[in-house]
Symmetry: C2
Subunit: 246 residues, 2 copies
């Protein structure tokens, strides 16, 4: 197996195995996909609203985000993605991007040509079902965020996001006990939560003073997981992770 394929396969399988069960045949199919790998700078666009991409991306390393820009200047981050995620899987069957994709940190991304992926999913129902399931989880996470935006206060919303990002990283082996990377600037957090950077500062300060978390040096420390979950009204079932009964 080539080094490129290995870099691609390792995070992908880690991610898929955190939510689903599948056969070695599927793994072999992944291994044969003609992928290429590209690096991006922080803030660099990977795909723009309106693009018609010819391949799907998978995050090999670093963080990327999906975002929608409004004519009036509004900026809404709709998802963060880490190693193993496929942030634009929908481009396989929806021609036009209805949002953008950019690197948050320095990021390495594997590109899978649409035609190869279409051919393989048409040939292998198990593969199609597995990736279809990923789309379903994508939608489930939007539901989680939507509920956070609509019915949680800034305080609970921030707690909720930290719960999610910690659990997702832990599920793919990127977190230690009560500690995980958190490379987001307060601007990013603000645009993800529909708040202002200023208010994010105050909100994080409140979470810290409540003894729930610490946030420094691009890392999140969970000081009181149960307390954080309570404040967040956090129910991890929307992540559809294997460990959490599905």
């Amino acid at each position: 197996m080539s080094a490129t394929t290995d870099r691609f396969l390792r995070p992908l399988l880690r991610r898929l195995q955190s939510t689903a069960t599948f056969s070695d045949t599927v793994i072999r199919t992944f291994a044969e996909l003609p992928i290429t790998i590209r690096d991006f700078e922080p803030g660099q666009d990977i795909l723009r609203d309106g693009d018609r991409p010819e391949h799907c991306a998978m995050v090999v390393e670093g963080w990327v985000c999906r975002l929608k820009l409004l004519p009036g200047g509004g900026r809404q981050i709709i998802a963060f993605h880490i190693a193993g995620d496929m942030p634009d899987l929908q481009s396989l069957h929806l021609g036009v991007m209805d949002h953008g994709l950019s690197a948050v940190t320095p990021a390495t991304v594997a590109l899978i040509p649409h035609d190869a992926l279409r051919e393989q999913t048409a040939r292998r129902p198990e593969l199609a079902a597995l990736l279809w399931r990923e789309t379903m989880i994508d939608a489930a996470m939007f539901r989680g965020w939507l509920t956070a935006m609509g019915r949680r206060t800034a305080y609970g919303r921030a707690a909720h996001l930290f719960c999610e990002l910690y659990l997702r990283q832990r599920a793919v082996g990127l977190a230690e006990a009560n500690l995980c990377p958190m490379p987001l600037r307060q601007t990013d957090l603000a645009d993800a939560m529909g708040l202002t950077a200023v208010h994010i500062t105050r909100t994080i300060g409140a979470l810290r003073r409540a003894g729930l978390i610490d946030l420094q040096a691009r890392a999140l420390t969970i000081r009181d997981w149960d307390g954080l979950c309570r404040v967040a009204e956090f129910d991890p079932s929307y992540l559809h992770l294997k460990g959490v009964a599905d």
Copy 2:
């Protein structure tokens, strides 16, 4: 073809044809699915958070909504669905419901057994791709709502929801020119937009006074479509309808 099958097929095809192109073989496959039909009262639960359904639903008639309830009493409506929509397609591959499904109006729903649907999608890649695409659009609509919640004021958010609900109904032949059913109570609108029923009253009043819409007798009249779109910062591409270039 049985009357039951006909009631099921007509709205489903209308919906699918509004966004995608597909073969007669797929239609025949749909026609052979062993569906059953059930009626629901307004407010009645169709599926609850935590359920493990054995079939997918398709709306034959009426409106249903999907919603998430928070332990603290919060209630967030995450989607409205009309005839032809499949509001719990994700239950095909995600075991547990992470949200509920209830009838908004008196509603008729067709139930498609999971095993039949799994068998047919495994056998027919075109069918799988078509429904997978529906899941992708589902996710796209959540992105649209998420952005509305995060970065639009109550005024723009309401305008946005009305734009969407009008276009979606028109796409499946349920709207006349500048007029469509709108059977939602202000409580429903409030829970969908993350606002209060009281504030919905004031917001709709403002839209009316601005000469953009009228809302009475469970019907929405569009008085100024361009103006409404401008206020909403509405870009219909997230609906991935055929008419709107995809």
